[in-house]
Symmetry: C2
Subunit: 239 residues, 2 copies
Amino acid sequence: MISLHLRKLRQRDQISEDEEQAIRALVSDVREVRAGTLVVRQGDEMKHSCLLARGWAARSRDMQDGRRQLIELHVSGDFVDLHSFSLKRLDHNIVTLTQSTIATVPHERLLALTERHPHLARVYWLATNLDAAIQREWTVSLGRRSALQRVAHLFCELRLRLAVIGLADEQAFDFPLTQHEIAECLGMTPVHANRMLQELRRKGLIRLEQRRATILDEPGLRRLADFHDHYLYLERRSR
Amino acid sequence: MISLHLRKLRQRDQISEDEEQAIRALVSDVREVRAGTLVVRQGDEMKHSCLLARGWAARSRDMQDGRRQLIELHVSGDFVDLHSFSLKRLDHNIVTLTQSTIATVPHERLLALTERHPHLARVYWLATNLDAAIQREWTVSLGRRSALQRVAHLFCELRLRLAVIGLADEQAFDFPLTQHEIAECLGMTPVHANRMLQELRRKGLIRLEQRRATILDEPGLRRLADFHDHYLYLERRSR
DNA sequence: CGCGGTGTTGAGACCTGTCAAGACGTGTGG
DNA sequence: CCACACGTCTTGACAGGTCTCAACACCGCG
């Protein structure tokens, strides 16, 4: 159920058997939800956090004119609103982008876990800091990269993040987002996202068909996007 | 020395006398640095974090073409790279924007603090999550707000953040950034930042002179920027 | 078979960037 | 005290990237 989550944690730190049991015991409840489900609404008082066991989800903000900004993408194994454990209410929505499996983790269990396992407290603290690092990179993209670069950068990021959990190989991965949603991530219009994707295809950098993305020339794509994977902190070390 | 830092923490949670002592004992070293100092370089191995006791600083990323994106602004009392306690190296630089006072906090002391005071561990976890919330809002700005709105939004945010530490009154605050630096925060060119500032002045929303900002019509500015202060989590609650 | 969601294309408008020049203030050295 | 250099702010003309609006093709699904 949450094996992808554990795999992700273990990418960055060691987790003992004992700790693994404690983590598995966090989950109080599991449910299957459809694409487009509003899992957490902005401003709601939270008494639990949501672990995305399987599927795609996003943090999102609705603007007053009806447009939407997707603030961060989440994939299988992500603790999508671990930060609500500190914040108690969120400044954004959490929505699913595909059918998903959501595991619920009561905050009281997280509190007990962090008091009993200070190391896991640091591991989860790190997890929210990794989210923040991705966020920073998106800020850099939106502030200083062209539309074409932003699209390229997103594909570089996603392949790596999916590879960590074994959902991408060297070249390809399942990619269920619509062009509209890509545009909502990258601060552009769907029409322009479409043209930028065509440009990447024309340059022979990616292929995108049947909800599956193939990266044909990763070095080229990285060069175009000015992509460096430092911000994903893929190396393991003890914390 | 770090009284503004404590004031900021107490805005969101209660800190006991005992805890205050523990926090004060974190600092190993204090130094005065000039504007433009590179306090932490991207990628460096960190064994301490830096508390900005006084002054203005920023997280920044240099692009390959020499442009720069300021990723987040920091004001007096901010723990500018608390996240390096988890991450061990940063994906961005920390630079001062004015003359500043920097207090150094060894990670080993933070480790001891969090093991001995689980509540303070949560308080500091929250602090990094507050940074991340600001980051998200900047992502929203860059993705979905016009240049004019972004400038307006920044001034709304800064007045509130400075008010928390008593460095802004209802109307005005010292604001040392150049238009070039404003542009680097907001993902635009200095020329355009200049024009947007003029536009805000022309509309009678702000005044900006002698490194001091005055907000003439805060409701109007907020309306223009679509600003809501939820993301700053200004209410106090125990965590 | 029709419908809604998705992807595609074109033309024109608009926002923002680029380039270049000049004004202004401040600090420094002669 | 003046001359000068430098950073900052300002302005104008033009270029270019992205948005808007509209239409159409395609496809899966009810």
